[in-house]
Structure formats: C-alpha cells, structure tokens
Amino acid sequence: MRAFRSFEFTAGLILTGIMGLAVILSPLLFPGGGMGQDLVARLTPPLTSAEYPLGTDPLGRDILARVVVGGRISFFVGIVSALGAVVIGTVIGLFAGYYRGPWDMFLMRFADIQLALPFILLAMTVIAIIGPGLDRIIILMIVAQWVQYARLIRGSVLSLRQSEYVQAAKSYGLGDLRILFVHILPNAMGPLVILGTLNVANNILLESSLTFLGLGIDPLIPSWGGMLADGRNYIQTAPWVTIFPGLAIMMTVLGLNLLGDWLRDRLDPLGQTK
C-alpha cells in the first residue's frame, strides 16, 4: 500500500495500533482490572520483577495493568465525545450553511461565546456545580466542541450549495434533506474526519487534565489522569508511578496526531482545517 511510504501514516498506525490493541485486549490480559493490591510488593521499581515489569504503586497495584486498563477510559471519552460533537455539529452546520438566517446567527454567536470560555474553565465552573463524573465530562466536551464542526461544515456548505451539481439536483426536484445529506454531506466529509481524529487526541489530553485536577473520572477507577494525580505525591520516591501513564498518553495522542496530519495531507489540500 502506498500509504506505508508515509512516515506519518506508518508511525501513527503503529503507535495508535499498539495502544488500541492493548486496550481492546485488556479484559483478557488483565482480568483483575488493575485493582488487585499486593502490599508486600508495593513501590517495586520497574524492570526489577517479572511479575510487575513496570513496577507497582504505593498500594502495590500493577502499573502495567493500570496503564492498559486506564486506557479504556481515555479511548472511550476521546472517541465518544468526538463522535457526539461531530454528529450534532454536522447537522446544525448543514442547516446553518444551507438555510442561513436564524440558524446561522445562532451558530455564529454561539461560536463567539465558546471561544471566550476555554474548555478547562467552562468545565471547572460546571463541574464545581454538578460534580465530577464520566458522563458529565463527555457531555461537556460535546457541548464545547460541536461548534467547531458546525462552522467547518457551514463553510463547505456555503460553497457547495452554489455548485452546479447541487443546482442540478435541485432542478430535478430533489428535497432539501436529500440534497443536504446525500449530495452535500459526502463532499464535505474530508475535513470532518481530520478534525475528528485530532479531536479524539485532544480530548484524551483534556480528560487527563480534568481528572488530574480532581474534576474528572472517579479516582477509584484506573485512568491515566488519575494515575498521574496519585503519582505526583510520590515523585521523589517512586517517579515511575507518574512516568508510565504520561508515556501512555503521549504514545496514544502522538499516534492519533500523526494519523490526523497524514489525513490532512491526503484529504485537505486546501487547508480548511488549519
């Protein structure tokens, strides 16, 4: 395949593939879910024990198991929130670009407001009120991010609706919905896929930041951000507790970013998603 000649594609696929596969197979690899405690072996340094290749944390839990199991949360949050935002943003963007008028006004003002409230600040305010939780983080990310997709799609629709093939479809008497979803949407998908990939990566980072701040996932569930927050107190005595979850985030996010960059080179030569 020609794609493998690209460094971005090959490296991105390998990184994302390793992390994704480990996470998918985690129920088989670590049936205990990284919760088991071996108090005798606590704070085992990495590479000193065959049983715990990446060492253990202050409660004697296997770091390797927790890193792999913790990836479930990150992938889940990243993918679900990006998909939710893509779907909502696409529908609103299609209508705003096609019908203009109030839809368009609403979208553009909402975009201004969203720009003024960075996600972390919005999340801090809202989570201070409703309390932390997996579902809330995902909903917040969707609320904060659908606008990007809507604006992107709106831009494409604005130019596509003038194009000859859309005019032709209209003159055949096709309904608006059919034109929007069957004829316009497929031609506006490229940038969406790119932005979506990059957003999965970004949302994994955001989730880990929020959980690190204590505003995200329940600390009892293994997650990368949670492990980093736990490990921070042991940075002097047991730095490996903090090093490995960070490396896991980096491998996953770098892999997704590389794939996103490769997609951008392939699908978006005009640079709409810059």
Binding site: I113, L115, S209, F212, I243, G246, M250, G271, K274
Partner: protein, 308 residues
C-alpha cells in the same frame, strides 16, 4: 464608513458575548447552593435567623439581576466585594492576574524566539531531513499533557539535580520551569504556523521581485517574508489565547504558581464562589478583548477583511 461599521459591529458582538458569559457564570454559580449555608457549615447551632443575617450581609437577599449588576459594575470599578474566607477579592485577584500574565508573557517570548527561526528554517529547507525532524518534534510537543511535562521537569531539575525550585514564585529561577512547560506547547503550535505561512509567502511574486532586485537573502526573509507571514501568526496567537489560559490553569497547579489557575482550583475546593466567579469572568473578558484587538489589527493590516 465601512470601517466604523465594522468596528461597531465587532464591538457590539464582543459586548454581547461578555454579557452572556458573565450572566451564565453568575447564574450557574448560584445554582450550587446557598452560600450562607456553606459559610456556616462548620458552626454549630445555626438558626434560620443566623442564615438570614449572613445572606443579608452578603447581599444575597436582593434580586438576582441586582446582584448581577453589582458584580458586573464591580468588574469595572474594581470593587469586587469579599471572598467567603479571605477578605476583599480585588487585591487577591490582581496579584494572581499579575503572576499569570508574567508566566504567559515569558512563555510567549520564549516560544517566539524558538519557533520563528526554526519555522523559517523548516520552510526554506522544505522536505529536508531537518524539516522532517522539526515537523515530528513539533507534533510530539502537542502530544503530551502539559502538566505531565511539568512534573517530569520537576523530577529532573528539582528532585534529581536540585538546580531549580520546584514550586512557587520565589524569584527569576522559579519562572524557568513553568515558562518552559507552557512554552513547549506554544512553540509546537507556533512552529507549525510559521512554517506553513512562510511556505506560502516564499512562493509569492513579491518575494521573487525582491530577489530579482538583488536584495540579500537575509533581507528577503526577515524584512519581506517574515513581516507578511506574521499577520497569520498574530491572528493565530489571538485565537490560541483562550487555550493558553486554559493550559496555564493546570500548569500553575503543578508548580504551585500563585496565579489565576491555582486561585480558581482553590476556590472550587473551598467552594469560594465569589472568587471563582471573578476569576473566570476576568479570564473570559481578557480572551474576548484579545480577540477583538486581533480582529481590529487584522483589519488594519488587511483591508479585504472588511468586505466580508
């Protein structure tokens, strides 16, 4: 006339955004519960009278819109009222804002000093080995949580080597690690922008003319190309300002930096909502203003924008 119209339109939009954002913040914060109950939660034998007195003292017995008006006008007059636990808000927030801006500006300068020359190099040697390395490194710089980088720097330079202080704002040396942490992320994005815009500008006709005139390469790059590509860089920096502020919040916490982020996180954990409301509103106002200024500067630099 179109210029005045454009300025007026953007100004009104900015005002509207600020109105919605501050209204949302003060409304949302009141949903969290009765501050009087929170303030007295540690005292024993609280009667309904005590609660009413505290509410009156905080001005919470007045209608919401009156309280909102008080808060918003306070943002302009500097009379921001009192924190639940720490006395007047204004001096606390001003101090934190200063620390945050110091950190933000230092990181920005560091990142521009690195990203502009490297970005120009990558654009001039497109496709070379050096360009590839720069591209991958800049992507890697965007691929880890910035607070993790902060922790790793502490591990290396404070815990292991004992060169730099691990936390607080105690002098110039304490600025180094937080600024590098934020600067790495900024450098990664800026590098990509400089590289792409330089590539575009370097293929423009006026660059060919400048070269044909016999100008030195240094003058072509730094006087003509860089000036034109800096328009895009400035716009992008404006758009990124919000993200920068969001990133600062977490990094400040890692380094125990006495800025707005640390203040906000403390306010959340103590449920000190007057502080939280002020901190978030001030950050939002700064972001809106920066974007407004960038828009206006952009319009001044590129007259075509007004026609849109």
């Amino acid at each position: 006339m179109p210029v005045i119209g454009f300025i007026a339109k953007r100004g009104l939009q900015a005002l509207f955004v600020l109105f919605v954002v501050t209204l949302f913040i003060s409304f949302a914060i009141r949903l969290t519960g009765d501050p009087a109950v929170m303030m007295l939660r540690e005292s024993a034998n609280v009667s309904a009278d005590d609660l009413a007195r505290v509410r009156e003292g905080l001005g919470l017995d007045r209608p919401f819109l009156v309280q909102y008006w008080d808060f918003v006008s306070g943002l302009f007059t500097g009379d921001l009222g009192n924190s639940f636990f720490r006395g007047p808000i204004a001096p606390i927030v001003t101090g934190a804002l200063g620390a945050t801006l110091l950190l933000a500006m230092t990181s920005l300068i560091v990142s521009l000093l690195i990203s502009i020359p490297l970005g120009i190099y990558a654009a001039r040697h497109r496709g070379s080995f050096g360009d590839q390395v720069i591209r991958v490194l800049s992507l890697a710089g965007l691929s880890f949580p910035n607070f993790w980088l902060g922790i790793m720097l502490i591990l290396i330079f404070s815990v292991t080597l004992r060169w730099l202080p691990a936390s607080g704002l105690t002098g110039p040396a304490s600025l180094i690690m937080p600024a590098v942490t934020i600067g790495v992320i900024l450098t990664a994005t800026n590098l990509r922008i400089v590289r792409t815009t330089m590539l575009e500008v370097l293929s423009a006709q006026f660059i060919m003319v400048a070269r044909a005139k016999g100008l030195s390469e240094r003058s072509v790059i730094y006087k003509h190309a860089l000036r034109n590509s800096s328009i895009a860089l400035v716009t992008y920096l404006g758009l990124q300002f919000g993200t920068l502020m969001g990133g600062l919040v977490v990094v400040e916490l890692v380094f125990n930096w006495p800025g707005m982020g640390t203040l906000a996180v403390e306010a959340i954990s103590q449920r000190d909502y007057p502080i939280l409301q002020t901190v978030i509103s001030i950050l939002a106002i700064m972001i809106v203003l920066v974007n407004l200024i960038v828009d206006l500067v952009y319009m001044a630099l590129d007259p075509r924008i007004r026609l849109e």
